[in-house]
């Protein structure tokens, strides 16, 4: 019986802290576990007793990378509870700030965290020595996203301008003009990013995934739509709890979310793209096709190209919104709280982010449920590794470890959201 053991203390280039444990016996994988160390962050519990209008700012603190997603899902859930519909320019501004978050989050992952895997560098710093212009382009592109979030959100990190019913303050057309100039450059840079990522080498790897994303009648989804999948799911966000369940897994502090009948599912850029290709802007569609992507992409390693296509879309969409923008009369709609349950689900950069709140007559939160994208993808990541590791089992431990890390980074896991991430250990016994 042949024994091998691989141990890596810390998986770099993911957001947060945690661990992956892989056990291999006689060249067969016998166990794979995500271990998440940090205790659950109890946000759901400490939202109880707070008022409905505090939820966007409290939940935004769950993640420094995707605070807008938390603000959007919580604001929409509260508006759903109180029967308020934000539309017109306020709705457009919400899409605009979401564009900013997608740009900054995706660009960070594409250039700084994921690209080094494909080019054989331990990190972006080493990569920058050989590809300074490319890394420089990534930095400036990300900055455009930061600028957009800072302008609409009040500041880059932990923005504070989103509220239930709209915003605290809305920009004038003049205030948006300088960022539009930057976005024009960014759109070109995003186009180059799609072309560049498409030249990387991708392992041949596909599984029969169930992709789940929002779908809107007209738009590529940010804030609204029905929840659909490639396996027949088509439900209102209100029915989320009837179809998905969070399971506590002994080895992880994060909950695994699964579809009640079918188990694991896949959320994020690949799911959105596969279910909404026809809703991308013409430029994003043409660019995707020009680099050889079809309307469906099932290879998670190619998520780096899809993320780049979404950055291109976000730049394009942001410019469209700014061009058509007129400052609304009021920055927010009035809210009359009453006892109700509200549901919100929006597309965070990493996939659907579900919020549900039960509110009393005084607008106080009685209970809250938050399901971040990474906990929904966790089981799919494990499943990928069950398939992927056997294909590379003969590699020496250090190389196998790198392959595992790359496969995990396909999902851009944000462990700050799903509690915290990631150390990696491979045991061969």
């Amino acid at each position: 019986m042949k024994s091998r053991r691989i141990k890596v203390d810390c998986l770099a280039r993911v957001e947060g802290e945690g661990a992956l444990y892989v056990k291999i016996k006689d060249n067969t994988v016998v166990d794979i576990k995500f271990k998440i160390f940090e205790p659950p962050r109890f946000f759901e519990a400490f939202l109880r007793g707070r008022t409905y209008n505090e939820a966007p700012d409290i939940t935004a603190r769950i993640c420094g990378i995707c605070p807008i997603a938390y603000q959007m899902s919580s604001a929409h859930a509260m508006e759903d509870a109180f029967g308020v519909k934000v539309d017109g320019q306020l709705r457009a501004l919400r899409r605009l700030i979401y564009c900013g978050e997608w740009i900054e989050s995706h660009v960070l992952h594409v250039y700084m965290l994921h690209a080094p895997d494909f080019l054989g560098y331990p990190d972006a710093i080493q990569m920058a020595k050989d590809y300074p212009d490319i890394v420089q382009r990534g930095l400036q592109l990300k900055k455009t996203g930061n600028d957009l979030v800072a302008l609409l959100g009040g500041r880059e990190i932990h923005p504070i301008n989103v509220r239930v019913g709209g915003f605290y303050k809305v920009p004038t057309r003049q205030e948006l003009a300088p960022v539009a100039e930057k976005l024009k450059w960014a759109r070109d840079a995003a186009l180059e990013t799609v072309r560049w990522t498409a030249t990387l080498h991708f392992p041949d790897f596909e599984q029969d995934y169930e992709f789940v994303a929002l779908r809107h009648p007209e738009e590529y989804p940010f804030n609204e739509g029905r929840l659909v999948s490639n396996k027949g799911l088509d439900i209102s966000v209100h029915d989320y709890d009837n179809h998905f369940i969070e399971e506590h897994i002994q080895h992880s502090n994060a909950l695994h979310s699964v579809h009640k009948g079918r188990g694991s599912y896949f959320v994020g850029p690949l799911a959105r793209y596969n279910l909404n290709f026809d809703r991308l802007s013409p430029l994003a569609q043409e660019t995707a096709c020009s680099v050889g992507l079809s309307h469906v992409c099932r290879n998670p390693f190619q998520s780096i190209i899809i993320r780049s296509v979404e950055v291109l879309y976000a730049c394009d969409e942001a410019l469209r919104i700014i061009e058509q923008y007129e400052k609304p009369d009021k920055p927010a709609l009035e809210i009359q709280p009453h006892a109700a349950v509200g549901y919100g689900c929006t597309e965070a950069p990493r996939g659907i982010l579900y919020h549900r709140y039960r509110i009393d007559d005084n607008g106080v939160i009685l209970d809250a449920k938050i399901v971040p994208p990474t906990s929904q993808n966790q089981k799919t990541i494990e499943n990928d590794l069950w398939q992927y590791i056997p294909q590379h089992i003969k590699l020496p431990n250090d190389q196998l470890t790198l392959q595992c890390e790359q496969a995990i980074r396909n999902y851009d896991p944000c462990i700050s959201c799903a509690t915290h991430f990631l150390k990696l250990k491979i045991d061969r016994v």
Binding site: E17, G64, L108, M112, I125, A128, K143, E156, I157, H158
Partner: protein
């Protein structure tokens, strides 16, 4: 000419115990800093950091570290002569944080002329506000040392 040739950056999270020490020091320095000094607070996100220092001649960055030394230990690095050990600053949940930003700027030949980093060894990084005693004492010492650095780098000299 650059109006604020000297930039002081306090990095940290005020809601994570000793991780807030960089912010606290920046606030102290800001109270009585000369006109040519700009003091800012940052969360530690690398790309924003690189952007914040791009026009400065001299940067002094202060952050909490977690290297295994005695709590309160003051580490001082001259970025031009020393590499920043990435593990020092890895308490942050940012995959691209202080050390990465400095090393990436070095790789891209975009480091400011003078660059000093102070790392204060933290003791408690749990959720909550306030510094532990050892870190509080070191914070006061670092404020003095940064003021001396500012004096040494003064464009008026």
């Amino acid at each position: 000419m650059n109006r604020h040739p000297i930039l002081i950056i306090g990095v940290g999270n005020a809601y994570r115990g000793d991780d807030g020490v960089g912010l606290r020091i920046a606030q102290d320095i800001k109270k009585k800093s000369p006109d040519y000094v700009n003091v800012i607070e940052q969360s530690g996100e690398g790309i924003s950091l690189m952007d914040s220092w791009k026009d400065a001649d001299t940067v002094i960055l202060i952050d909490a570290v977690h290297s295994g030394a005695q709590p309160g230990t003051i580490h001082r690095f001259d970025v031009h002569t020393q590499t920043i050990p990435a593990k020092f600053f890895h308490y942050s949940t940012h995959a691209f944080g202080v050390a990465e930003a400095i090393e990436l700027a070095r790789a891209l030949k975009q480091l400011p002329q003078n660059f000093i980093v102070y790392g204060i060894e933290g003791k408690c990084f749990e959720a909550g506000i306030g510094l532990s005693l050892e870190v509080e004492e070191s914070a006061q010492e670092v404020v003095k040392r940064v003021k001396q650095d500012i004096h040494n780098c003064s464009p008026l000299k």
